[in-house]
């Protein structure tokens, strides 16, 4: 059995027994400023010092110690009652008689508290009310923390599985990825580069892959092509499969892929990763392979091997179809970049060694390019990523609404919203929980967030689906919204959207550039065939239709037919470019001033949206021109 030592009651302690801290708390500021810890606001000390009979002192203790009085008021009441009783004692009254005459002590104490409260100054009352209101707010905030802390996100949809679902049931012999994997496993250069062991004193792996005919790394590139003839064969074979078949995971790579990427974790079973965490390991090797084929095609063109040129171009375009098969924007953008490599090969061959391609090969290329070189931007995956994040950040009330959960604050680190880094969680869970009520006041509810996303995404998609000439003067919906809502609070309200919604200026430039480049190459092929037949260039592009072209492609900036003229006897096919001004087929001048303002966009174009409404560069967008 244990016993507990009695706790000292401060009411019964003498002034000497009270701790320094207790006296410090009851010392007026003016005494403290004088360096005295007087404890003058301790009514008990005042009563003790009066040295009254115990029965009298007890009455004063009960009245002055009544809850509801300030320290000043306690001392004031105590002093007045001390004086009163002392006067009575001085007059010869008996202490017990004085106590009896005093009346009902508790009633007196209650009335005194009420009267003292009534007599307080209005600034005091204001501050007291303010403090009470603050206290209530703090209490409500704590209750709100409890409410929000109890909210758990409900992960209703496995978006990683949903994204991979189209591959379910596709026969294995129709899937290309296992064949691509064989090619990449056979590509020792790629695997050495991945492992940091690529060893070529003339060029790095990337330098060799991006080499152009005649530049310093060209020989290294050709050497790489020669040693990887087998890889190219495997790529060609893989590209003929109907479906791509790369299974995306966020928790690692499949056991089959582990040999290719031994540094990655092996993952099996259902993947519960966030869609935004999905590892697109395949993209870089596919792009590198596309470059290898580009180099092979350029080599073949110089060697007079038109068949290989056509085969490599077709292989790249098949790979474009594969790599952009998943409904993820980044895959589409990579597909467009690979497409540009194929178009570059054709354009280069037409300009330098057109004779290596037979008429049949040219017609075949035109058919393949018009069929496969169009990558349409698909926002399905972007939407999935958004909804996946929403379901992991918000609760779900079953009616499309909900509030942020503490996990949301930590997840912000992943989506890099509100200035967080991607290095790790945004902060401890407890901090995130404490911030919940405030965050829910600032950040939009689930329904508001989804509605705003759909509104802005819908506008963005609508603009992407329309040709550039119809939308070029319209502002990016995101920019327009931000411009119309200057308040930081309003911007913070939808911070998640600003991070997750793709920038229209990037999308329309990527897509429209791809369309323009494709149109240019198709006109170039038609022009070459016409030239072979007529031994002269056409007087106008209309002469190419309908036998060599179904119609003259439209200028992406104006909607009118592409412009065409002969410069020094050689044809130039062009768009008026971003400035929408016909400069006679002259590309923007490669001056330091233009370079400073427009960077490496000189040979392409930059939309007014992308330039933040600055004047676009002066000059035309040359889509194809023949060389003497």
């Amino acid at each position: 059995m244990t016993t507990t030592a009695p706790t000292p009651d401060t009411d019964t302690l003498t002034a000497d027994e009270r701790t320094f801290l207790q006296r410090l708390r009851r010392t007026p500021l003016r005494d403290l400023l004088r360096g005295r810890v007087s404890g003058a606001l301790d009514y008990r000390q005042v009563i003790d010092a009066a040295d009254l009979p115990d029965s009298v002192a007890a009455v004063i203790h009960r009245v002055a110690g009544r809850r509801g009085l300030t320290r000043w008021e306690r001392v004031d009441v105590a002093r007045e009652l001390i004086a009163h009783f002392a006067d009575g004692l001085d007059a010869g009254a008996d202490p017990d008689e004085l106590v009896a005459v005093f009346g009902d002590v508790d009633a007196a104490a209650k009335l005194i508290v009420r009267a003292k409260r009534r007599g307080r100054s209005w600034p005091y009352k204001l501050i007291a009310r303010g403090a009470q209101a603050f206290g209530v707010l703090v209490l409500l905030y704590i209750v709100a923390i409890g409410y929000y802390a109890m909210g758990e996100p409900k992960i209703a949809v496995n978006y990683v599985a949903k994204l991979n679902a189209p591959l379910q049931g596709v026969p294995a012999d129709q899937l290309a990825w296992p064949e691509y994997r064989k090619a990449f496993l056979a590509w020792s250069d790629y695997r050495d580069a991945e492992a940091g062991k690529y060893d070529d004193s003339n060029a790095t792996f990337d330098q060799a892959l991006s080499a152009k005919p005649g530049d310093e790394h060209w020989d290294a590139a050709m050497a790489m092509v020669e040693r990887n003839a087998r890889v190219i064969e495997l790529l060609r074979h893989a590209s003929t499969r109907d479906r791509y078949g790369y299974v995306m995971r966020g928790d690692g790579v499949s056991p089959e892929d582990h040999e290719l990427w031994p540094d990655k974790d092996v993952a099996t079973g259902e993947d519960h990763s966030m869609l935004i965490e999905v590892l697109l390991n395949d993209i870089m090797p596919m792009r590198n392979a596309s470059n290898l084929l580009r180099l092979d095609a350029l080599r073949a063109a110089r060697a007079g091997d038109g068949r290989t040129v056509a085969l490599d171009v077709e292989t790249i375009l098949n790979m474009v179809r594969h790599v952009s098969e998943p409904s993820i924007l980044i895959c589409d953008l990579v597909g467009m970049a690979m497409c540009d490599q194929a178009l570059g090969v054709v354009s280069d061959t037409l300009q330098r060694t057109p004779e290596v391609l037979s008429d049949d090969q040219l017609r075949r290329l035109a058919h393949v390019i018009s069929d496969r070189a169009r990558v349409e931007i698909d926002m399905t995956g972007e939407r999935m990523m958004f909804y996946d994040i929403i379901q992991r950040m918000y609760t779900d009330n079953g009616h499309g609404d909900g509030h942020l959960t503490p996990k949301a604050m930590q997840m912000m680190a992943l989506v890099d919203a509100l200035g967080a880094t991607q290095d790790g969680p945004r902060g401890p869970y407890i901090t995130a929980t404490a911030a919940m009520p405030l965050a829910n006041m600032v950040v939009a509810s689930r329904r508001d967030m989804v509605d705003k996303y759909e509104q802005l995404m819908g506008q963005t998609e609508s603009m992407i689906r329309r040709p550039l000439w119809e939308t070029i003067d319209d502002a990016d919906p995101i920019d327009a919204y931000v411009d119309a809502n200057h308040s930081t609070l309003e911007r913070a309200r939808y911070a998640l959207i600003w991070v997750l919604i793709p920038a229209l200026s990037v999308l329309d430039r990527a897509e429209e550039t791809a369309i323009g480049r494709t149109d240019g190459v198709l006109v170039g092929i038609a022009m070459e065939i016409y030239h072979r037949r007529e031994h002269a260039w056409p007087a106008s592009l209309d002469q190419l239709t309908p036998t060599l072209l179904p119609g003259v492609p439209r200028d992406r900036f104006t909607g009118r037919p592409l412009l065409y003229r002969l410069v020094d006897g050689m044809p130039v096919v062009y768009s008026v470019g971003a400035d929408r001004d016909d400069d006679g087929g002259a590309a923007p001048a490669d001056t330091p001033e233009n370079r400073e303002q427009f960077g490496d966009r000189l040979d392409q174009w930059a939309s007014p949206r992308e330039l933040n409404r600055n004047e676009p560069v002066d000059g035309d967008w040359v889509l194809w021109h023949a060389k003497p």
Binding site: E80, L81, A83, H84, V101, G103, A107, A115, G119
Partner: protein, 117 residues
């Protein structure tokens, strides 16, 4: 004779203000004066007096000061201008009340005339 609480609630403050009309007084003095000058009829314990004083002070009808020159600090109360005005009004009302009571034979008409001025 002790006055009922309800009656005392109206009469007490007026009696205190009337005493303070003559000059400032401290608590014990007030208790003694009320007891002696009313033959104990308006005698009130401190449990009644001090809440009443604090109430009157809160209403700005009386004001206080602490005199620390004596053997012990003492709080003196005095009537304010607002207190004087209220005292005059209350006196008028009491006089009317006493007259009315006299008409009903509750009080002696002579005592009604002798109501505080």
């Amino acid at each position: 004779m002790r006055i009922e609480r309800e009656l005392m609630r109206g009469a007490g403050p007026m009696a205190v203000m009337k005493l303070l009309e003559r000059g400032e007084m401290y608590g014990y003095e007030l208790v003694e004066a009320l007891s002696k000058q009313t033959d104990g009829v308006l005698a009130m314990g401190q449990s009644t007096l001090y809440p009443m004083l604090y109430n009157l002070e809160a209403k700005k009808l009386i004001a206080s000061r602490v005199d620390e020159t004596g053997p012990r600090p003492r709080k003196y109360y005095r009537l304010t201008a607002a207190g004087k005005k209220r005292l005059a009004q209350d006196t008028e009302q009491w006089r009317a009340l006493m007259t009315a009571m006299a008409c009903l034979g509750v009080t002696d008409p002579a005592s009604a005339e002798g109501a505080p001025a």
